[in-house]
């Protein structure tokens, strides 16, 4: 296990250096000049030149990259072109919001997904199975943008049960939970649908297995059979889906953050891309990549805990 973690850690570092190089180069190659965005359409040629010079954009690209890399290796993520604030500070203030949102969405997704998947499998081809499969398809297909707006119109504007947007109360307070409900449902539906499909098919496979038939023959009651014997074995592919989805949720909060006015890393990234704020784009992409790798590592560790047959040593 320890060797797995050490190995993964070194892989992560190499991966991040590779990603940073690709992102850096693609931002510089892509059209759009940070100076002309800062200066706006009104800026004169000399204004633009002065801005470029002050941002260090007149250096050769490779020199800029090496400067950046040596900064990052010394723990300095640089300063935003737009606001001149420390990039690390910008991320530290926003990351908790994104993490809260992703965790809350995952909770919603697991509760809905696993429950629906199991019931569908156990009562295969029942009306519940058919409607939950239909909902799962809809859940994957509905764009978050539309779902979020509809939820706001129903629960916030018409019924006035929940606030429209913002996420500034701590998540453990009532206000914080109220602020999280609609965004979590919006972001969680897609994952819920995927988890439901995976739980259903994994469960169907397991309950047809010989040992379940044997257990049944020995007189184990239905409830115990499903929850104790079948579920644990069906969970491995489900956990993979949950892990991959959680990684994707952390990097995929952009639209939900946008619709619900949540000040998170996703919005920081999209604003930075629009403003060609290179240091912020770099840092947010690196963060999302690192988190994705980390979540996958945790999933691998959980495998070993659930299934004693899996060992990394």
């Amino acid at each position: 296990m320890v060797s797995l973690i050490v190995r993964r850690f070194f892989q992560l570092i190499l991966l991040l250096i590779g990603i940073s190089f690709l992102v850096f180069m693609s931002m510089h190659i892509a059209p759009g000049d940070p100076a002309s965005i800062i200066g706006g359409p009104t800026a004169s040629a000399s204004d633009l030149e002065a801005i470029r010079e002050s941002l260090g954009l007149n250096e050769p690209v490779l020199v800029q990259y090496l400067d950046y890399l040596s900064g990052v290796l010394h723990g300095d993520l640089g300063y935003s072109f737009q606001t001149n604030q420390s990039v690390a500070d910008a991320i530290v203030t926003r990351f908790p919001n994104t993490l809260n949102l992703a965790i809350a969405s995952m909770i919603v997704a697991i509760i809905i997904g696993v429950t629906a998947g199991i019931i569908s499998a156990v009562k295969q081809n029942s009306w519940f199975d058919v409607s939950s499969t239909t909902f799962a398809l809809a859940g994957i297909s509905i764009p978050n943008f539309w779902l979020g707006t509809m939820l706001i119109l129903l629960f916030s504007v018409t019924l006035q049960w929940l606030p429209v947007g913002g996420l500034n109360a701590p998540f453990y307070t009532l206000e914080g939970i109220k602020q999280l409900i609609l965004p979590a449902i919006t972001l969680g539906t897609g994952s819920a649908a995927m988890i439901a499909r995976m739980s259903r098919s994994a469960m169907l496979e397991v309950i047809r297995a010989d040992y379940i038939r044997t257990a049944k023959a020995k007189g184990v009651r239905q409830r115990g059979l499903i929850w104790i014997h079948a579920l644990r074995n069906a969970m491995i592919p489900v956990i993979t889906v949950i892990g991959v989805n959680f990684g994707a949720l952390l990097g995929g909060t952009i639209i939900t953050e946008q619709v619900f006015a949540i000040n998170g890393v996703g919005r920081l990234m999209i604003d930075a891309i629009a403003a060609r704020d290179f240091p912020v784009v770099q840092a947010t992409v690196l963060l999302v990549a690192a988190l994705f790798v980390l979540v996958n590592l945790i999933v691998d560790i959980i495998y070993a805990l659930i299934d004693p047959r899996i060992s990394y040593d």
Partner: protein, 510 residues
């Protein structure tokens, strides 16, 4: 372990349910004691809070409450009046002697005086500071202190729009102490009616009343600018009372807002202008006949009708709320006339000419492009739309890689020189003169409008220059803006400026 997890899950679910069932009863507050608080929703965060170091409208919204300028434009008469200045004289055409009001203090206790003005403008013009709007004071040679409350501004050549430039939000006076000892871009200090309290970047900015404000304290205790990137979310927040004030209403949201019973909508003819422009260095767009044909072919009224009253048709490039406007220019452009357009096209062999309309995917530009595309097709010009994200668009147009495009100009000084010079003067080809228009006669008139100090003479020069650019059809104005705001009915005293800016000093909630 499992029981523990189940327990937490249950608690969480209960909390969910409790959250859902306790419906809000906040709207039962009595009308007599409405809190003197105002929350404004903005679609993007401020870039910074220093007038010297920023150049965007969101930052200006905050800056205009915290800082003040030497001069200001009266939103009704559009005349320039002193604000922090007391009076001014022009002993010769390169010298402006400005007397300052006495007894005013910055929010940090620093005295407002000639030293503060000199410090601010010196910083503004300092190349190392790279102020994005440094060009506003480009002709200024020096700012000298004559006595504690008099500054003398010397220009290298006569500079007519100086007062308009000094009334620009970016020319606000900053506290020298605060700028030297701290970072006014994150902790601003000015002389204005509201003082800075907090900036949670990406989320909100809070201002509190300046109790020692020199014109008497404002009614509002706190002002919050909340970042709500999605306009439809902001409209929902206005409906539920989470915010009380929005501006720059997109035409497609207007009818929903107007249907809300507790919301007031204010509209007013404004200074921004939106136009269709031609790349004057490419064939056949450099041919005046081609541009005329397009101008005849485009039905601007049909476009304006789609704006639900948030725009007006006016052929003049200098708009009705901008200094230098001439009423006779209103209908002096090439009117919508399909037959005439077809005739010119036939006579000049433009038939089945392929053109690309470049449009940024922000604002109303795509709508403009679609309407113009269909109208050009009608007269036999084969138009294709190419859409681009804003950052790429700015670069592509300043490099001249386009044929026809759509742009706008906010005109935040409301002075015609500040419209014609950056956009159409040949000095600025390669940067802000994106159409690459070059006409010596026009250039000379604009130069004069900038160098004359006599405001009446300036007006005449601007009117003449405007006529030339209209005749050349370098821009086809699609619409002149109607600036707009929507606010809760409890908000009183809010007055929009024709530039779309606003000040909250006189606002109360009842």
């Amino acid at each position: 372990m499992r029981k523990k997890i189940m327990f937490y899950l249950l608690v969480f679910l209960l909390a969910f349910a409790a959250g859902c069932s306790s419906s809000s009863d906040s709207d039962s507050a009595g009308a007599s004691n409405v809190p003197q608080e105002l929350t404004y929703a903005t679609t993007s965060d401020a870039v910074g809070l220093s007038p010297i170091d920023t150049n965007d409208s969101v930052s200006s919204n905050v800056i205009a409450q915290v800082y003040e300028t030497l001069f200001t434009r009266d939103p009704e008469t559009m005349e320039i009046e002193p604000l922090l200045a007391e009076s001014y004289e022009t002993p010769d055409e390169n010298t402006w002697e400005i007397k300052l009001k006495e007894g005013i203090k910055f929010q940090d206790g620093t005295d407002f005086n000639a030293e503060a003005v000199k410090y601010t403008f010196d910083q503004f013009m300092d190349e190392n500071r790279a102020a994005p709007r440094a060009s506003l004071l480009a002709p200024v040679e020096s700012v000298e202190i004559k006595d504690e409350y008099t500054v003398v501004i010397k220009t290298s050549e006569p500079y007519g729009p100086l007062l308009a430039a000094l009334s620009h939000t970016n020319a606000s006076i900053v506290s020298p102490t605060a700028d030297k000892e701290g970072d006014i871009n994150s902790e601003p200090v000015g002389t204005g009616p509201f003082a800075f309290e907090e900036w949670a970047e990406g989320d909100h900015i809070t201002l509190k009343k300046n109790e020692d404000y020199w014109q008497g304290e404002p009614s509002l205790e706190t002002v919050t600018l909340k970042v709500v990137p999605e306009y439809s979310t902001a409209v929902s927040m206005l409906e539920t009372g989470e915010v009380q004030f929005l501006d720059k209403i997109p035409a497609e949201h207007l009818s929903r807002i107007e249907s809300m019973s507790d919301v007031e909508v204010q509209t007013k003819p404004g200074t921004p202008v939106y136009y269709l422009g031609f790349n004057m260095e490419k064939e056949p767009f450099n041919n005046p006949e081609f541009r005329k044909a397009v101008a005849y072919a485009v039905d601007r009224q049909a476009y304006v009708d789609q704006l639900n009253g948030l725009g007006v048709k006016n052929d003049s490039i200098i708009g009705p709320k901008v200094f230098g406007y001439d009423e006779s220019a209103k209908d002096a452009g090439y009117p919508y006339d399909v037959e005439k357009a077809k005739q010119i096209i036939e006579e000049n062999g433009f038939a089945s000419q392929k053109v690309t309309l470049l449009a940024s995917n922000s604002g109303s530009y795509m709508k403009m492009a679609e309407i113009v595309q269909s109208q050009l097709t009608e007269v036999g010009i084969d138009a294709e739309i190419e859409s681009m994200e804003w950052g790429t668009f700015l670069d592509t147009t300043s490099e001249g890689n386009f044929e026809m495009t759509f742009m706008g100009w906010t005109n935040s000084t409301a002075d015609g020189s500040e419209l014609l010079y950056p956009n159409l003067h040949s000095d600025n080809i390669g940067s802000s003169n994106r159409m690459r228009y070059s006409n010596k006669e026009f250039d000379a008139l604009v130069d004069e409008s900038r160098t004359l100090v006599d405001q009446e003479a300036r007006q005449k020069k601007l009117q003449e220059a405007n006529k030339i650019a209209m005749e050349d059809a370098v821009w086809v104005p699609m619409n002149h803006d109607v600036v707009s705001a929507a606010y809760d009915k409890s908000v009183k005293g809010l007055e929009l400026d024709p530039t779309g800016e606003w000040k909250l000093y006189n606002v109360t909630r009842e």
